[in-house]
Amino acid sequence: MDELLVNDPGKKVILMGNDAIVRGALESGVQFVATYPGTPASEIGNDFYRISKEANVIFEFSTNEKVAMEVAAGSSFSGLKTLVAMKNFGLNVASDPLLPFIYTGSKGPTVIFIADDPSCHSSAQSEENTRAFSYLGHIPTLEPADAKECKEFTKIAFDLSEKFQIPVMVRTTTRVAHQKMPMVLGEYKKNSSLARGEFVKDANRFVTLPPRVLGMKTELIEKIKKMQLAFEKSNLNFIDRGSSKATEKRGIIASGVAYLYVKEALKELGLDLPILKVGTFYPLPEKKIQSFIKGLKNILVAEELEPYLEKEVARLAKDANCKLEIHGKDLLPEVGELRPEYVTLALAKFLGKKYVLPRIKTKLAVPKRFPQLCPGCPYWLVFGGVKKATEGKNVIYGGDIGCYMLAGMPPHFLQDYLSCMGSSIGIGHGIKRATGQKLVSFIGDGTFFHAGIPALINTVYNQSNPLIIILENEITAMTGHQPHPGALGAKVEIKIEDVVTACGVKNLKIIDPVQQQEFIAAIDEFLEKPEVSVIIARHPCKFVKKV
């Protein structure tokens, strides 16, 4: 049996943050899961993909995150306990349905898991801090610091959602989602069968139309106030005094993994200070913060990325302690993840202590090792063919999100722009209309289904003539080989050529890039066409399981 499914309360196991989230959701009795892959959130979906059948959980990889969020709303409206998970960029895509979902609230308890990736270890496009969405959408937001809290907070989030009838967001970062530690399993009662919800009509609740929508906003703000009161008392926000004296005038406020670095730093510096660990980023326990800072002289706010918490503390200090000296981003970086030594250094400065980071002197520097396409990856042939066909033709190469981003790295160098999923086509169309320069863009099959189709329709409708190469490798490779609607063995396989044709594309060829001559000839031909052209480069990823 899968380790996540054992019912052995009290058993101590090591789980990674994402797996702990899954276990927490199972212990909470989750019934419906919709997700879209993206590092560092992917294992949540992968786990459910693996266990959903045995666990009697309704599961789907949705076509993209917007759809996943909508599916989750539908499940919640029908009364089911619902989980939806994605990486930070996914929430950008899903933000349109997310905001009204917070207005209508949830019926079946719903938890939204979002993973940020400070330092962009596995994120091409921006270093996003999802906490800004909490303000934008009035989204109750919990921030676990470690893997154990991932499990605990998941269960609490489902309870909060049930109590306040609002979706609750749990926001992690790479060092939390991909952190492992021991934790104790709770009771897990497997669903006896797949849940069957019921959608009970209630337009007052589920239809967001003015003027009702403003009433909903008023109710939402009321809910948030009530949650805030609950969070003042909740031990999601706690004060950790360690062995510091009651008369101590210096304190720390920390959230997420920064709390762990603070603890480590204090140990390194050999002292203890009171720490307010904030687990509910939104709504904030304002009273608790105010009472914490009241008697203090100076405070260090330790958080990753933008100083949202610090700004709140500054605002709250106006009333509670206007003389408080507040430190944070003056001592800690705003760009890139925190690390224990950064926090140690910041804390030392904060305390006026001397601390020198250990530094090793060596003459040897290793050159960067660029990630590579796997040996036998069909993209070697695609890039090679494109290079041959376009040599000397002054072509612009459009990139998109997937393994084929490696087109931008040595030895290929075939990527002149890169943004978000699906954007190769939209940006390419914009460049074509603005310049008329020759342009070839790459898009993976997964990304084509995710966000490429509207852009392709736009290119046909608004008439420009890029050459779009769809890399049909039958899988979502980059994020760990999840299936997608065009993948081999999909219950209903949707053929990309049918979609492309239905979008009105006249110049279409399907070529296995192994046939290099044919592939190169097609590129030559299509680059001269007055309308948009599409080549589907069809060759499965070597990790596709033969069915």
């Binding site: 590092t39 762990l260 690390r339 090793i360 990630p371």
Partner: protein, 200 residues
Amino acid sequence: MANKSILKTKKEDYNIVIAGTGGQGVITLLQVLAEAALIEGKDIKTSELHGLSQRGGSVEVHVRFGERIYSPLVMRGKADLVIGLETQEVLRALDYAGPQTVFLVNKYFVPIPLEKKMTEGEIVDNLKKISGKAELIPASDICQESLGTSVVAGIYLICLAANKDFIPLKPESIKDAIKKVIPQKYLELNLKTFELAKQK
């Protein structure tokens, strides 16, 4: 190599950084070490990266255990043990090293395209300047010769480290952790690797 004394005087936390290239199985090693530490009742935190970083690029995982562990990342200068599964990659982990660090380096090169290969001599000399405790071990070759495959080189190195008392965990705990973590299909191979590391 005299090392027992180092461990005996150590503070309670033990910090390991493993550096290698994508596909060398660093995450399996992390799991084995973490489970072994759990068997001995320790607190544990680990950190790993997934995604693009695994595509043949450099990878680095952190394993920390002791009485009470907070940070999942090893602090700069605080590694007790740095394992390089690839000879050049160990150099990327030097930020974590200090005079207390033991280096175990696999004699195994994955060439970096377009770059001149550094010699293992140069690399080990530099490591020795840091702590004097650096060993170059032909783990991949040993495993290839004795077991017919070098995929277990990492397991070989951590077993060796436990046998040599570079990791304050009992070799038996590592063995039990291997049984827990490694899928049935590869278990025998890994247990043979454990025995192989004992003979050295």
